[in-house]
């Protein structure tokens, strides 16, 4: 035996201790795993020895290895051995190892109970201490139950060192073994007044934690805590007490005052002396501070100081606290919007996220657009996808909250959603998709707009699906396809969309999206058939069927069952239809009947609203109940008397009247705050109560009785601008504002209510009309630009000499750039076929006279456009040689720092006008612009259009696709625009002699028409110059305040005018051989003058 001990100790001299192990690991950086595995082998040998010192050393090393991530659970028993050593040195190591390695499922813990009990009652306080510390880490319900009494005794130990630890560990014991709380509580309460501050603070800690879970039971301690609070100078303790009061306040309002007082101190004290909490002796300043803080608003102002602080930590906490105040006092926080928006620019993501949280609560109808615009900017800038995704969800959250309560313009919202689809690699495609669906389904008035947008998305699906596998954004195609299919009656060109949906590339999309594509292709097919069968020529309809039959087999082969099933169904259907078509049978109606009716969302609990028909008793047995005698029925009642009330039968009678009414009230409130609940209109609710009927199942309807129609990809920014202008207008309209205010005071509004409300917000209906009709987001056309001038005086004076034109445009450009978006301007104006030179002379006079810019139809105006920093100037010239041709000259100017290339110009042809394309090109092919644009360079391109009839004005939609090439990247961009061919653009300034003019009028071939312009204050020569310039007339003769004018259309129509003026009234008598052309020209002239 003796020999063994000696041998052991000699061996030990060669053992590694912890320091050696650490050093060894550091020296074996390359083959750490191998080194450690040899060490573990050594440790295993050491653990086999009887020498406790060796074992303790081994266990110590194991604890270190455990931290490095190695599994040491196999040594659990050895750890228990070391724990039970009588020597403090080893015991300490044993308990440390146990506290690091043991958890509830460690089975050897059972073996430790007696050892721990022994240590707890050890005369040495450090033995006890180390046992308590260890226990706090690995206490299990069993240990808690067995040792609760021992620990309770220790709470009254003579040494504060032990008392303090015992009190703290009691909390863990309570958690694991709640029964121990009742007997231990009186003693715990005693410890609140322990002479030792450490024990006292431990007791406060424990009670505070307990109270957080169940405040009610601790209300009786409030006076005691209040005493502690006023007497204690230990901030650590104070914070805990305030937390405790925070939990108690909801139960005892009287505490509120003191809590707010203290919370403020709690809030400020770390700020006043952040470095030394425990020593901060700000008691004297307390009363003073207290004076400052009685209202939440003041608190918020203090928070502002925190947020403005340069210390990031305080900034973060300030925002955090503000978000808490926001929940109860949104108004007071809202005034700090500027500050919070500022925080969105912070470098620190944590701070940005906090600020984002705050935004959610501070949006209103007024500032929603502005805030979202700001967020959109951040989306563009955001470097990491996580933050960008967070922004995306926040934007959608903010906009959709409380049933889109804050959205006044759904077109704007759709545009935002469409813009969000440009995010690559986001995970939230489905979120955008569900929003699109929701809005399109629920806001009927927006459907037309939404459908146009969705059609564009489908058309450009390839842009979204670059990387299908990881790209969640393709989910939006799901929504796009469904919306286009379901609301296909709004599609402008359903055939084109149908083709887009049947492209072979669709087969690369995920299965569930393809399925929707196939199904909705069928719906579209039905719509297309209907329109085509209306024509006399049946071949078109048959061609459409053929297209379906050609393309569908691709989906029939799909690996996705859903796609396959739908495709084969529809393929068979179409084949059948084709057969019928060949027999000249009209099928469109029947095909349409397949998809007739509207799909409406129904609230999940709508069934409850259907009243039970009279005479139907759902509780009555349909058959005789299974033999159950009265006595048997009563037996359980007598046995479980308490349950009687819960018994099903009496419940029905009791619950009825009041209870039901109460429940209904509760439910209504719940519904009011539930954005997913679809509310019925209040009126229908009433009706339902009086005369119940199935009709009153609530079905969503948000009616924006505003005709909305905008083609092209929208730029949400424009809506923001419009919104601002509209508000300016609103401000002028005081009455309305007051009305609105009253309405806003009305508090929470349901969906139904918000419908009219938002209408009111949009106030002048015609305004919105213009917005939507004339303000296509990215479009060029002059009419677009007119929207701003409607409300504010035109900011671009009529200029024609190129140089000055540019200058003015630049001015406007600068103005627009304030919006932080570079805009493309499109300039559109008519030219004389003789060339620009002559015209500029003509306009030169106009310029001198400094007249404001005239009409839509004629003068150069700028239009808002999309982000590409890129400008187009456009002239439309009639071609004298060919009465059906119009030449459009476009000057492209590159305003950005990037290289623009591969520009492709394309216009969607209408029946009347089409772009002349080279032979062999398809009807939808674009024309390549024959040059590239380095930064700052401009160049001109001409495009020829064929026009059949010139008697009506028309608009053509088009796109310009191009590649923006930077040093490191190149992106594909697209610009939508609209070309506006007014009737005056078909007129050509043609000189005419007065005798020829007289002959023309005498011939009697001309139809007459006239128009009166009131309130024209300009001098007569200006007036004439204006008509000449904008409407391409030439003056034949002028006598005093009377003049005759002449112009000719490209197709040879003569247009003669007799202009007279008197007392600010201008009367124009006109004659032309084409009455509709004449009336359009006169309308355009009228419009020109109504603008000034």
């Amino acid at each position: 035996m003796a020999l063994k001990i000696v041998k052991g100790s000699i061996d030990r001299m060669f053992d590694k201790n912890l320091q050696d192990l650490v050093r060894g690991i550091r020296n074996h950086k390359e083959d750490e795993a191998k080194y450690i595995s040899t060490c573990i082998d050594e440790i295993k040998q050491e653990l086999k020895q009887d020498n406790i010192a060796v074992k303790a050393n081994a266990v110590c090393k194991l604890t270190y290895l455990q931290m490095l991530g190695y599994d040491v659970s196999w040594a659990a028993f050895n750890i228990v051995e070391v724990m039970s050593s009588s020597k403090f040195t080893y015991k300490r190591i044993g308990y440390l190892a146990a506290s690091q390695c043991f958890h509830e499922s460690t089975d050897v813990i059972m073996l430790t109970t007696n050892q721990i009990r022994k240590d707890l009652s050890s005369p040495n306080q450090y033995d006890t201490g180390v046992a308590l510390t260890g226990l706090s880490c690995f206490v299990t319900p069993d240990l808690a139950r067995d040792l609760a009494n021992d620990i309770m005794t220790l709470m009254s130990h003579t040494k504060p060192y032990i008392r303090k630890k015992a009190v703290l560990i009691m909390y863990k014991v309570f958690l694991k073994y709640p029964e121990s709380l009742r007997p231990a509580f009186p003693r715990l309460k005693e410890k609140l007044e322990d002479p030792d501050p450490g024990v006292q603070s431990a007791a406060v800690n424990v009670i505070c934690e307990l109270a957080r879970r169940n405040p009610k039971n601790y209300l009786s301690l409030a006076p005691l805590f209040f005493k502690l609070m006023t007497s204690s100078t230990n901030n650590w303790v104070l914070i805990k007490i305030i937390k405790l009061f925070g939990a108690l306040t909801p139960l005892e309002p009287r505490l509120c005052h003191s809590t707010s007082q203290m919370s403020f101190l709690f809030f400020l004290s770390p700020w006043l002396s952040p470095s030394s909490l425990s020593t901060s002796n700000s008691t004297s300043a307390m009363s003073l501070l207290y004076e400052c803080v009685n209202t939440v608003i003041l608190c918020v102002q203090k928070l502002r100081i925190l947020i403005e602080d340069s210390d990031q930590n305080l900034k973060y906490l300030g925002l955090l606290a503000m978000s808490k105040i926001l929940k109860t006092h949104p108004k007071s926080v809202q005034s700090h919007k500027d500050l919070i928006l500022q925080c969105l620019d912070d470098k620190d993501e944590s701070i940005r996220l906090r600020a984002l949280d705050l935004l959610y609560g501070m949006v209103s109808k007024k500032n929603l657009m502005e805030i979202v615009k700001k967020l959109m900017l951040h989306v563009d800038k955001a470097e990491g996808t996580t933050y960008r995704d967070e922004l995306l969800t926040k934007i959608i959250d903010i906009c959709s909250q409380s049933n889109y309560q804050y959205i006044t313009n759904f077109e704007w919202y759709i545009s935002i959603l469409v813009e969000l689809t440009r995010l690559e690699g986001t995970r939230h495609g489905h979120l955008i998709a569900s929003q699109m669906l929701d809005v399109a389904i629920r806001v009927k008035a927006i459907r037309e707009f939404a459908v146009a947008q969705m059609a564009t998305l489908l058309d450009n699906a390839h842009l979204l699906t670059g990387n299908t596998q990881r790209n969640g954004i393709c989910e939006v195609l799901y929504a796009a396809a469904w919306i286009c299919g379901e609301f296909s009656e709004h599609l402008e060109n359903p055939m084109q969309t149908l083709e887009a949906m049947l492209r072979p590339k669709v087969a690369t999309l995920p299965g569930h999206i393809q399925a929707v594509y196939v199904q909705n292709a069928a719906k579209l097919f039905a719509t297309v058939l209907r329109s085509q069968e209306g024509n006399t020529d049946r071949t078109a309809a048959q061609e459409t069927s053929q297209l379906m039959i050609d393309r569908l087999p691709l989906f029939v082969q799909s690996a996705n069952l859903e796609v396959q099933e739908r495709a084969s169904c529809i393929l068979q259907l179409v084949k059948y239809i084709q057969k019928l078509q060949q027999k000249d049978v009209e099928v469109a109606e029947e095909v349409n009947a397949l998809f007739a009716g509207e799909l409406n969302p129904v609230a999940p609990k709508a069934q409850k609203k259907v009243p039970v028909p009279e005479g139907l008793d759902l509780d009555a047995w349909i058959n005789e109940p299974p033999s159950e005698s009265e006595s048997e029925d009563e037996k359980p009642r007598t046995m479980f008397t308490r349950e009687e009330t819960k018994h099903s039968r009496p419940r029905h009678t009791e619950v009825d009247e009041k209870e039901l009414a109460k429940r209904r009230e509760v439910r209504k409130q719940e519904q009011a705050s539930n954005p997913f609940y679809i509310k019925s209109s209040p009126s229908s609710q009433k009706v339902y109560q009086e005369a119940p009927g199935v009709d009153h199942i609530p079905v969503v309807q948000i009616d924006l009785s505003v005709p909305l129609k905008v083609p092209g990809l929208p730029m949400s920014d424009q809506y923001v601008k419009l919104e601002e202008e509209r508000r300016q207008k609103d401000r002028a309209d005081k009455k309305k504002k007051e009305k609105k205010k009253r309405k806003e005071k009305g508090g929470r509004r349901g969906k139904r209510d918000s419908g009219p409300e938002s209408e009111e917000d949009i106030t002048p209906a015609h305004m919105v009309d213009i917005v939507t009709e004339e303000m296509p987001p990215t479009a060029i056309c002059r009419s677009v630009s007119l929207v701003p001038p409607l409300n504010s005086p035109p900011c671009v004076p009529s200029t024609c000499q190129k140089s000055s034109k540019h200058k003015k445009k630049k001015q406007k450009k600068e103005k627009e750039e304030k919006d932080k978006k570079k805009k493309k301007k499109h300039h559109h104006h008519r030219h004389h076929s003789d060339g620009a030179g002559e015209e500029s002379v003509q306009n030169g006079t106009v310029e001198e006279e400094e007249e404001p810019l005239p009409t839509i139809s004629d003068a150069p105006t700028c239009s808002l456009a999309s982000p590409p920093p890129f400008r187009q100037v456009c002239d439309i010239q009639g071609n004298l040689q060919d009465g059906s041709q119009v030449v459009v000259s476009l000057i492209f100017e590159n305003k950005c720092d990037s290289f623009l290339k591969a520009m492709e110009f394309n216009v969607l042809d209408s029946l009347n006008s089409r772009l002349q394309r080279p032979d062999g090109a398809g009807p939808h092919d674009g024309l390549t612009v024959p040059f590239q644009l380095p930064p700052g360079v401009s160049n001109e391109a001409r495009f020829v259009f064929t026009v059949k009839s010139i008697v009506m004005p028309q608009k053509l939609k088009g796109t310009l696709a191009f590649i923006v090439k930077n040093e490191d990247s190149s992106t594909h961009e697209k610009l939508d625009f609209k070309l506006h061919f007014t009737c005056t653009s078909y007129l050509i300034t043609t000189p005419c002699y007065s005798d020829a003019f007289a002959k023309l009028l005498e011939s009697g071939d001309l139809k007459a028409s006239s128009v009166k312009l009131e309130g024209v204050v300009m001098p007569f020569p200006h007036l004439l110059a204006r008509i000449c310039f904008h409407h391409h007339f030439s003056v034949v003769e002028r006598i005093d305040s009377c003049a005759s004018m002449y112009s000719r259309s490209i197709q040879g129509h003569h247009v003669c005018l007799l202009v007279k003026t008197a007392d600010q009234t201008v009367s124009i008598d006109a004659k032309c051989d084409e009455p509709s052309l004449l009336s359009n020209v006169l309308d355009e002239i009228k419009l020109t003058f109504s603008q000034c």
């Binding site: 010192a53 931290m67 040195t89 703290l168 603070s201 230990n234």
Partner: protein
């Protein structure tokens, strides 16, 4: 407090203390995840972040990150104070502490932490009493250690 971690700038764990029983595998995963998040943050950023359902409060001292996970209702600033106090304690005990002190005397660092915090709650707010307890326990250890040391030499 749920747990406290000390790790180096290179992502090596130096100390870990878990105040709620957690499975070994989860611990490893959480530590790895958290280190990644914290190490990615730039020096000028604030010391708080939200992670899973916890609030993380961290502070960097020289090459060591001290990182605490606290619950929703807990006070971030006081957690920061706890970290600072712990560092002060280490500093006092080791005499201008450095990372190596903690590596080689990791059990000592644990003992100090255990005297300062227990079950995730502050045990004693006074530096003096914590250090006194440690010193006395050490003394006890040295006295008993002596015979074993003599055995070695």
């Amino acid at each position: 407090m749920r747990f406290m971690l000390l790790f180096s700038r290179q992502g090596k764990l130096r100390l870990q203390k878990w105040y709620t029983a957690t499975a070994e595998r989860d611990k490893k995963k959480m530590v790895r995840e958290l280190m990644q998040v914290v190490l990615a943050r730039k020096p000028k950023m604030c010391s708080f972040l939200e992670w899973r359902d916890l609030k993380i409060v961290y502070k960097r001292y020289a090459s060591l990150y001290f990182c605490c996970a606290v619950e929703e209702q807990d006070n971030e600033l006081i957690t920061l104070e706890v970290i600072h106090r712990f560092v002060e304690l280490l500093d006092k005990y080791f005499g201008s502490v450095c990372e190596l002190d903690i590596i080689f005397n990791f059990e000592k660092a644990y003992f100090i932490l255990d005297e300062f915090l227990m079950g995730g709650e502050i045990q004693d707010t006074s530096k003096k009493s914590v250090l006194k307890a440690i010193e006395q326990a050490d003394l006890l250890q040295e006295v008993r250690k002596l015979p074993h040391n003599m055995l070695c030499f």
